[in-house]
Subunit: 147 residues, 2 copies
């Protein structure tokens, strides 16, 4: 089994996608993350769902969770409003880490090794420089357990 057989269509976003729209995509389609692509449609990076939250949480709360408690419940409920007007570009971590991207010929073992090393439950699959889809941890486990 190779990556092309496991890859499924997967939603993408660009650096200019509104962060709120990214949050909606993640929630509506129950995704572990989003693939970010450049203008040519090539994957730039994978944005984990938790990193969209990062942008919505004021810095002082992020560093000290006890400070998040001083925000009253009614305001806390509306924390996603912080995303208003901001884009995915601002959600990216400062340091670029190894990208979970593989080609269509990658074996199940290669995909597993990549997910384990990058701690990404999502690998973008490219063919000759073109994004063809993604393999999720779910898809990988489902197929590997069926054998």
């Amino acid at each position: 089994m190779r990556a092309h057989a496991l890859a499924a269509e997967f939603p993408t976003a660009t650096l200019d996608t509104p962060a709120l729209e990214a949050a909606r995509l993640l929630a509506e389609r129950d995704l572990p993350g989003l693939i970010l692509v450049d203008d040519a449609g090539l994957p730039i990076t994978i944005l984990p769902g938790t990193q969209v939250l990062r942008l919505a949480v004021p810095t002082y709360c992020r560093e000290d969770p006890a400070l998040a408690r001083v925000v009253d419940e009614a305001h806390a409920d509306l924390f996603l409003r912080q995303l208003g007007g901001r884009t995915v570009r601002e959600c990216l971590p400062e340091q670029q880490r190894e990208l979970p991207v593989a080609d269509t010929q990658a074996t199940v073992l290669e995909l597993a090794a990549l997910m384990a090393r990058t701690r990404s439950p999502l690998v973008a699959i490219v063919d000759d420089g073109r994004l063809v889809g993604a393999v999720t941890l779910q898809a990988l486990l489902d197929r590997a357990l069926a054998l």
Copy 2:
């Protein structure tokens, strides 16, 4: 909205749960991770799904993905067999990081801050030392976007 209203029952495992059973739970119930509990039922840590793969991938493949390619496709397909006889205990990272655990009174903002900081799409919710369930990134986004 507070954590008790968002928390849902969530599967747990112990350090002695077979790693293969953990992989099955992750796949069948489509989970981002598992809550590991001690004999008293208290959360010890959250095991991300990708870390179960870690145990199934030979060390040399993990460090150098190119080496994973030398394993032929038929053998690569069966990589999960490496989990045979091993337990969740062996999947844990060496370094213990901050635990994504909150109490039932945590606000949505506190949960978001915790998910962002620990990069965990799953927070275990405890009440008076007892595990009552978990809040997932999905549940958090669903509710916050509905407001």
